[in-house]
Amino acid sequence: MKILVCITHVPDTTSKIQFTDNNTKFDKNGVQFIIGPYDDYALARAVELRDQTGGKLTVLNVGEAETEPTLRKALAIGADEAIRVNAFPSDSLFVANQIAHYAKEGGYDLILMGRESIDFNGGMVHGMVAETLGMPSVSPVMKLDLEGEVAKISREIEGGKEQLEVKLPFVAGCQEPIAEWKIPNMRGIMSARTKPLNVVEAVSDEAATETVGYELPPAKGAVKLIDKDNVQELVQLLQTDAKVL
């Protein structure tokens, strides 16, 4: 079994988001970068599947040199090799093209990634990769089991879930509770140092979009506190002030 897991390198979920250079650049100052939380689920499940079936688990990120510690962490969690496609991930179509180009020759049985990144929240890359490779795609996947060449999947839909069957190969956007996150142990961290992390150059490709600037939402006004013995006042405010009742 050959599995490819694509991961993003994103600010930790608790990061304060700020911009510099007249709101044209993300301010990395004091920000810790992590494997995208949804990608972490995909990776955790991929490690389990690789352990069950044998084969090879490759982890890939489209990013500049600064993302290598994130790839090393994925190696420590259990990936066998890491690939960094050397490019700034300028938009989802560009990233998807790089992944599809890399995966085309690889003969992967499964391509897993998170349902969306937590920076641009597009949720688009899995579908784009699948369309480019002519494979089925399923997202958001909450459960994925293999029975030979067939995957049994549970996908979240609004207000419930759906069961699916897909023949390999296919692309999946994953989310919890597909697996428990894996925390790298000492042995994993040690072995990650010697596992291959290869850098490949990007295939040139025109982007379809460009980011031209950022903006922070307006500051929130102070909360209006209401006495706990006067819930009628809250009801009244919701009727007359907020006009939501």
Binding site: S137, K161, Q163, F170, P217, K220, K224, V235, L238
Partner: protein, 321 residues
């Protein structure tokens, strides 16, 4: 030229978020002098489809093939691509949703169209085509320039007002060619809570956290929700502990919501929870800890014990309904 809107429906009723997408498209069409054509897939009544007209569509293409009743991503993308061509469209608008995202992504490749997701405003077409989008799970916005002639915009829920024209659209049947490969992902069963208000669509949400102590107390949340006509939600540890089903879990790693009113009971307001609710128009927080971080994000707050406050609040709501 026209703008095509992909509309989703739940068992034959057009989703509110899809009507918002039609409203968005009609405002855009007015600006650009275009026509709005909607496309609906699978079993849905003609008179329901005509309702897309109230939100501004002139025409609805109906692809009635029953195999499209279920949301098979690849098949939907193939069908919509054919409708796009038929409509002579240069822009596709849809509501951001898990199915919508997956379909839009494939269409972006098929149509060679630049795609912007989480769109919150009409494009600024002054010297380019710039679209404002919500990013970092609601913690910021970005302006994205789409440089391709074909464009796809996935509109965030509640970001644009729903238009009410009172018009009706003409409905036209459309036949499309679907390949066997379009149905490679086979849906074997669907498991949906019926009769519940769907969380992503809800206008009011009452949500409970670990402060509710256990599933046996959820009747307090449900009673208030029922009195308000609201959907119910919860924090992550609540669904992790199995007190509530996973699809009710709100936040960064759960459902992202944008209701007119979000009532958070016994939820601390961790940043990962806030990330899923910060697009709400109004937030009410009930928490016994005056230092709970949620109060900083709230519009209205009550400091006190949920077990004492909830029954009183439910009665007060019932009194005005």
């Amino acid at each position: 030229m026209s703008i095509l809107v992909y509309i989703e429906h739940a068992e034959g009723a057009i989703k509110k978020t899809s009507l918002e997408a039609v409203s968005y498209a009609s405002a855009l069409a007015e600006k650009e002098g275009k026509e709005v054509v909607a496309v609906a897939l699978g079993a849905i009544e003609e008179n329901e489809l005509a309702k897309a007209g109230t939100a501004g569509a002139q025409k609805v293409l109906h692809i009635a093939d029953e195999k499209l009743n279920a949301g098979v991503i690849q098949a939907h993308a193939s069908a919509v691509a054919q409708a796009y061509e038929k409509a002579g469209a240069d822009t596709l608008v849809l509501a951001k949703s898990s199915l919508g995202d997956a379909v839009a992504a494939r269409l972006s490749v098929k149509l060679k169209a630049g795609l912007a997701s989480n769109v919150v405003a009409l494009p600024d077409e002054d010297g380019g085509y710039k679209v404002k989008r919500s990013i970092y799970t609601g913690k910021a916005f970005t302006s994205t320039l789409i440089t391709t002639p074909h464009k796809i915009l996935a509109v965030k829920k509640n970001a644009v007002p729903l238009k009410e024209y009172g018009g009706a659209a003409t409905v036209e049947a459309l036949d499309v060619t679907l390949e066997e490969g379009d149905f490679a992902a086979k849906i074997t069963s669907t498991d949906k809570a019926t009769g519940e208000i769907s969380l992503p669509e809800a206008d009011i949400i009452v949500s409970g956290g670990r402060g509710m102590k256990g599933p046996e107390n959820w009747n307090l949340i449900e009673d208030l929700a029922k009195a308000m006509g609201a959907a119910t939600g919860c924090s992550k540890p609540v669904s992790d502990s199995g007190w509530r089903p996973h699809h009710e879990h709100v936040g960064q790693t759960g459902v992202k919501v944008a209701p007119s009113l979000y009532v958070a009971v016994g939820i601390s307001g961790a940043i990962q929870h806030l990330a899923g609710v910060n697009a709400s128009k109004n937030i009410v927080v009930i928490n016994k800890d005056p230092e709970a971080p949620f109060f900083k994000a709230a519009d209205y707050g009550i400091v006190g014990d949920a077990f004492e406050i909830l029954p009183k609040l439910t009665e007060a709501i019932k009194a005005i309904k």
